[in-house]
């Protein structure tokens, strides 16, 4: 493979409780309440930094799901990131916050505060929040429909970024929008990277448009390389129509990993973790992305065409359109039986590699070199064990192949993303 000339792969790790596998707390020697301690997250942060990973990422869901199905998100993301910030020096800190259920001025102050305290390492993953359980915690009967959510999201991101700029210049913002009004400024000292980086996570046309306009990174949802390449090109092209460079927005899909020293060992671990997962977990995950109840379907028959052919209304359809599109396309290509579909659905919507670190590196390198991704947000089976495997075994392979850096080029996250992002 080539020399270390294009080692621009972006790698993050999605910190999902004890790991992406719902049974990860049952297969490791961990205490459930470890998730509430600073030490658990600090150790993961230090391990990620030892592996020169660019960033750690927290999703966010401001409503409690059933902890017996999946226990994660017990701590508010930016509090956990604050603990990690104090234990690390270079690691990027990406937290999710809803544009629908946060006040933009408060959000701008909070994110800029952590960015300044951490020395310029914070990114905001702006999401619009579609989950029905969340709205009831904020006093509204239902989530707004997608066009309104994204119209508000666009306005909120614009206002937050304007407030960050005004914090540096001292010039007040005078914002009179459709959803928010604000005249004034925030007075948080600017950070080493100016202000936080913005990521966007939606895969709908509205989401991609928002990403192309305002985001420096996209957490994409992709299962196979060809659609990933189409979406990659589409977002970069759209960024240009907004007068930005294609390199200004990094495309970072999720990648689920279950690694073993042999493929057979990895498969055994995957099977063990799936067997210990709550009954019907992957079936429900598939059903969520298809917005259909699959529980009474015959596992040996294909997923019915009626479910896959259904036209979804992008205005009223609640769940993620990005996941829906990706998953439908993938089910069509693998639809010999529901059982077979589920067997390949172990990433619960993301691409999965069950295999050796070499095999994971093959997928990463192929996607990276063929313009399907600028990097990956790794969804690791178990924490802390799986992250150590990634850092000690996968990262060195990617470095030898010349796709991943051998030292942090810049302390700030913006500096690193900017230095390494690519065009078409």
């Amino acid at each position: 493979m080539s020399a270390d000339t294009d080692a621009g792969l972006v790698l993050g790790v999605n910190l999902q409780g004890f790991g992406q596998r719902p049974a990860a707390w049952r297969t490791q020697d961990v205490e459930p309440t470890d998730l509430l301690t600073a030490g658990f997250w600090e150790d993961l942060g230090r391990t990620a930094e030892r592996g020169l990973l660019d960033m750690v990422f927290f999703a966010d869901h401001p409503a409690l799901g059933d902890p017996n199905v999946r226990a994660y998100g017990l701590l508010e993301p930016f509090v956990a990131l604050g603990a990690i910030a104090d234990a690390t020096t270079h690691l990027g800190l990406v937290g999710t916050a809803s544009t629908t259920y946060n006040d933009p001025v408060d959000l701008a102050e909070r994110l800029l505060s952590l960015d300044t305290v951490s020395g310029g390492r914070v990114a905001w993953n702006a999401v619009t929040t579609y989950d029905r359980s969340v709205s009831a915690n904020f006093g509204v009967a239902t989530n707004p429909e997608r066009p309104e959510r994204y119209a508000r999201a666009g306005e909120v991101v614009d206002l937050v970024q304007a407030l960050w700029r005004s914090a540096a210049t001292g010039l007040p913002v005078d914002h009179h929008g459709e959803f928010t009004e604000f005249a004034g400024t925030i007075t948080v000292p600017p950070s080493a990277q100016g202000h936080p980086v913005v990521f966007q996570a939606g895969g709908s046309p509205h989401g991609r448009d928002l990403a192309a306009r305002v985001a420096e990174g996209v957490f994409a949802v992709e299962l196979t390389p060809e659609p990933a390449r189409e979406h990659y090109r589409a977002v970069k092209q759209a960024a240009r129509t907004y007068g930005r460079r294609a390199a200004d927005v990094a495309i970072v899909p999720g990648l689920s990993l279950v690694l073993g020293s042999t493929e057979a060992e990895a498969q055994r671990r995957f099977d063990e973790l799936e067997a210990l997962a709550p009954d019907g977990y992957s079936l429900r995950a598939l059903g969520t992305h298809l917005d259909a109840d699959l529980t009474d379907l015959d596992p040996d028959a294909p997923v019915p065409a009626a479910i896959l052919d259904r036209e979804v209304d992008p205005v009223t359809y609640g769940p993620s359109l990005g996941y829906h599109e990706t998953v439908v396309r993938w089910v069509r290509a693998h639809n010999t039986s529901l059982r077979e579909v589920l067997r390949g659905f172990g990433g619960y919507g993301a691409r999965i590699v069950v295999g050796t670190p070499e095999q994971a590196a093959d997928t990463i390198e192929e996607w990276y070199r063929t313009g399907a991704a600028d990097g990956f947000n790794l969804m690791i089976d178990e924490f802390p064990r799986g992250l150590e495997t990634v850092v000690d075994e996968l990262v060195p392979i990617l470095q030898r192949r010349g796709v991943f850096h051998r030292e942090y080029e810049d302390v700030t996250l913006r500096g690193r993303l900017g230095a390494r992002a690519r065009g078409l």
């Binding site: 049974a23 707390w25 049952r26 205490e31 459930p32 309440t33 509430l36 301690t37 600073a38 030490g39 869901h61 401001p62 409503a63 409690l64 059933d66 902890p67 017996n68 226990a71 998100g73 017990l74 701590l75 508010e76 930016f78 509090v79 956990a80 604050g82 603990a83 104090d86 259920y101 946060n102 006040d103 001025v105 408060d106 102050e109 909070r110 505060s113 952590l114 300044t116 305290v117 009831a136 915690n137 904020f138 006093g139 009004e181 604000f182 005249a183 004034g184 925030i186 007075t187 948080v188 000292p189 210990l276 709550p278």
Partner: protein, 255 residues
């Protein structure tokens, strides 16, 4: 039982916090000043409750408390919030999360308004805000987490209850439960600023009720000592904010 004098609560000026994060070593120097003050508990962000003081440079109080709380591993920390722009679900989560990360040394001070920011069009009752926050803190008891690996039972979910707060047409409607279980001190201390009337609060702060002592010594007074950065080990005396303030642990919910 002997009366022990109430511990001094020192108020850290917003400007000092903002100045501290702008320079390397600034947080450590600020921590030294707080140690030198002799106070066991610090209040962060309370300048915003004062129309005169609440307009300068500042940091988000929870972020500042996290940084300062790690540099001061045995101090208690009270963080300010007001219903001016924030929602109680977000505040409840953030402050209870902070209480976990800082090992049960955290409290919340609710003031009537944040003078540092223009209000939104909506007016909210700070007492209701405080009541909702505390109600949410009580929705998921920590000891319901059983961690039965064999049975695959993470928590006894029958003990996790919604809040179902309905404050009427002008109030908050918050279903709950919170995403975060209660903490080692039960729940964060709930204080109210003296301009808020809320009978259920643990403490009333500010004004004549319980004046806060301003932190002495200007910024940049001394070099950081580097002391007290050692994390508290399991054998150390881990005093909670409730211990420091002589407050009882709230009665367990659903026990």
């Amino acid at each position: 039982m002997t009366e022990t004098p109430a511990p001094t609560i020192v108020a850290v000026p917003d400007g000092d916090l903002a100045a501290a994060v702008a320079r390397p070593g600034g947080i450590a120097r600020l921590a030294d000043r707080i140690r030198a003050s002799g106070a066991a508990v610090v209040a962060i962000g309370t300048d915003r409750f004062d129309a005169e003081r609440g307009r300068g440079h500042r940091l988000d109080p929870t972020t500042a408390a996290l940084a300062l709380g790690r540099a001061l591993p045995t101090h208690g920390l009270l963080v300010a919030a007001a219903p001016t722009r924030e929602h109680p679900y977000n505040v409840a989560r953030r402050v209870l999360s902070l209480d976990h990360v800082l090992d049960a040394r955290v409290g919340l001070v609710v003031g009537a308004r944040d003078h540092g920011l223009p209000a939104t069009g909506e007016q909210h009752d700070p007492a209701e805000f405080a009541e909702v926050v505390r109600g949410l803190w009580r929705t998921w008891p920590l000891d319901s987490i059983v961690g039965d690996r064999e049975a695959g039972r993470f928590a006894d979910t029958t003990r996790i209850l919604p809040l179902d707060h309905d404050g009427g047409p002008d109030g908050y409607r918050v279903r709950g439960p919170l995403t975060t279980p209660s903490s080692r001190q039960g729940e964060p201390v709930l204080a109210v600023w003296h301009d808020v009337a809320h009978e259920g609060a643990d403490l009333v702060l500010g004004g004549a009720a319980r004046p806060l002592v301003p932190l002495a010594g200007g910024a940049g007074a001394s070099e950081p000592s580097g002391a007290s950065r050692t994390p508290i080990g399991p054998g150390a005396h881990r005093r909670t904010l409730r211990d420091l303030l002589g407050l009882p642990v709230p009665a367990p919910v659903g026990a």
